[in-house]
Symmetry: C2
Subunit: 369 residues, 2 copies
């Protein structure tokens, strides 16, 4: 299938939870498969913090496929011969949707640090506008992991009539202090890097050289995506061949992995966008407008599938389990399934161990209403 990014412009206001307003906005997205005649086969895929709408397939001439390509495609668990899959770049992300680097039309200048804080509910509201425009009144399913799982849960709660099935992986009902602490390293690293210049950095220079503060922050992120077990099996105590054990700057292989990933990341992801999306993750709490988790879950009408990973150090399995237990307590056992996948890959498992859970996704997509 030919893969291409589409951009949809909305010349209409988007009211944000913060009280601020986008007078217009745009969304980048991709689709895979065909929308059927009654527009009932849409599967919405939601991406994570640094992901994009490029969830599957390859662009012309590209060797690397979309981030969930092993899950989505013809004959795969999310079968594009049956489903019309759509993935929308979240607002605040640098891959085509409205973001801090866009022109704030009221000022004729880039938003930069004047960009409003956008929350998961806002991101999901914006996606609904796109689906309306495409004539999709109801999704067959919503699927997402990590920050994408937050979007999926938000769809289930705040757009209950839109969702028949919701599948949330490696996520939580409210970002916990432990995850907020990990994000702090990146936030503090970015804000304090002199080259960040309070958001007025030269974009091209960052693409060329990266931003050290963000690279270091991202290294902390990588710790949270891994696990004690996965770091041991991947790196153990292997030392970089060319480095001296008794040299102060000598490195273990795990050090080199972090450097490589941290510095590369800082060249390919915009630091302001990172700040805004980390904030979005931190602020996420689906219980905020409710008295309790149970109150928050009460509006859900979708069949809900929750998948956690045993070694996830960012969003612990018990956080997903709490959602399940609450729904069972509420007498909704028939509408929720919870699966804890045994994995040594930590949080990354939802991206790298698709073969361990794609069966559950397939089954969840076939769950009879």
């Amino acid at each position: 299938m030919k893969i291409e990014t589409k951009i949809e412009h909305f010349n209409e206001p988007l009211y944000l939870e913060s009280g601020r307003i986008f007078s217009s906005f745009k969304l980048a997205y991709e689709t895979y498969g065909e929308l059927n005649a009654d527009k009932s086969n849409a599967v919405v895929v939601c991406h994570a913090l640094t992901g994009s709408h490029h969830a599957a397939g390859r662009y012309d001439g590209d060797t690397k496929a979309g981030w969930w390509d092993s899950l989505i495609g013809d004959g795969k668990a999310v079968d594009t011969t049956k489903y019309f899959v759509i993935c929308v770049n979240i607002i605040s992300s640098p891959f085509g949707s409205t973001c801090p680097l866009d022109i704030d039309e009221s000022r004729g200048k880039e938003y930069r640090m004047r960009f409003p804080v956008v929350v998961i509910s806002d991101v999901v509201n914006a996606q609904r506008r796109l689906f309306e425009r495409l004539g999709i009144k109801k999704a067959h399913a919503i699927i997402g992991g990590s920050l994408g799982g937050m979007q999926a849960l938000c769809f289930a709660i705040e757009h209950s009539d839109f969702c028949d099935r919701v599948i949330a992986l490696a996520t939580t009902y409210a970002t916990q202090a432990w995850a907020i602490a990990f994000n702090k390293i990146a936030i503090e690293g970015i804000l304090n890097d002199p080259n960040f210049d309070n958001g007025n950095y030269d974009k091209e220079a960052i693409k060329e050289n990266g931003l050290t503060g963000m690279a270091i922050g991202r290294m902390a992120g990588h710790i949270s995506f891994l696990s004690p077990h996965s770091t041991k099996s991947k790196f153990d105590r292997k030392y970089v061949d060319t480095d001296g054990l008794y040299e102060l700057k000598g490195r273990f292989e795990v050090d080199r992995y972090m450097e490589y990933n941290g510095y590369n990341f800082s060249k390919r992801f915009d630091p302001l966008c990172y700040l805004y999306i980390a904030k979005m993750m931190n602020v996420f709490d689906c219980t905020r407008h409710y008295d309790s988790l149970k109150d928050a879950l009460a509006p859900i009408k979708a069949k809900l599938t929750l998948i956690s990973f045993s070694g996830d150090m960012l969003f612990m399995p018990r956080e997903m389990r709490e959602i399940y237990d609450s729904l069972v307590d509420m007498g909704r056992k028939n509408m929720v399934e919870y699966i804890d996948i045994s994995s040594d890959y930590g949080h990354d498992a939802f991206l790298v161990e698709v073969e361990k859970f794609d069966f559950y996704i397939k089954r969840a997509l076939e769950w009879k209403k």
Copy 2:
């Protein structure tokens, strides 16, 4: 008791594992209690990465006691009416023992980045020199947590005739990739801070202003000292009262905690010393000169007590358990005890939950040879 730091100078070479040599060195230390006539009641306490030889008691006019004051003192588990307790500042640490800020006599200038990498074995060898000078031929016991636990294990293995009892808490036999990854954040933060100036920073300016890169690295350290459970019970999702939820720079309480501790720490601890001690921790592997963990443990003659903490995210309980299992396999069940303390405090538990394990320390000190 009157507490004071003593400094002992050694005008004799100390040969380091790296092949480098200190032609002279000094050690800062404190003692509590009285050495008995046959010098058989010495209990050596080993401190952690950012700790010091000030393990117990209060200096004149000081309100804050030493870091293990709840464990050490008259009538406490490490009873100074019975034992002569001695705690030595490790070489590389900024609190009085030879460190990178001292004058390298061969050059007449401060060592700075020319300081040699010092490993746990070196630190322990230096301590032995002091004990010899004090006439202590054998210690009643060695106790240490975290980096101090590494010293304790090193004493047990490499100075087996010196040790009757060794008690190691919240530590490991070899620093694992997960812990090395956490240290990487601090190392990278320090090395890349422009004010670090490749080790040529102005010491007084750092004391005054701190070093942002080290502060951020220390924040990552704080994550590893805590646990998902302790951050939740301590901070939950509480937001700083005066900050706006929808402001980009608005903070959760856990953010404020990390800022407070990170920035304060960076004013009170020298960044070069931090680099060298983090390296020391990373390099620690008591199996390095042996074929296996069992081989490494074979020389131990002391009664060994291993205490881990269930929520420790830096050195996992299973790392201590491996030592125990190896010794049991080797038919040494009668000389080792392993206790896993249930704790929500993570790695910090060895400092903050003394009441949960002081009984075991007391018992270990009374373990008949």
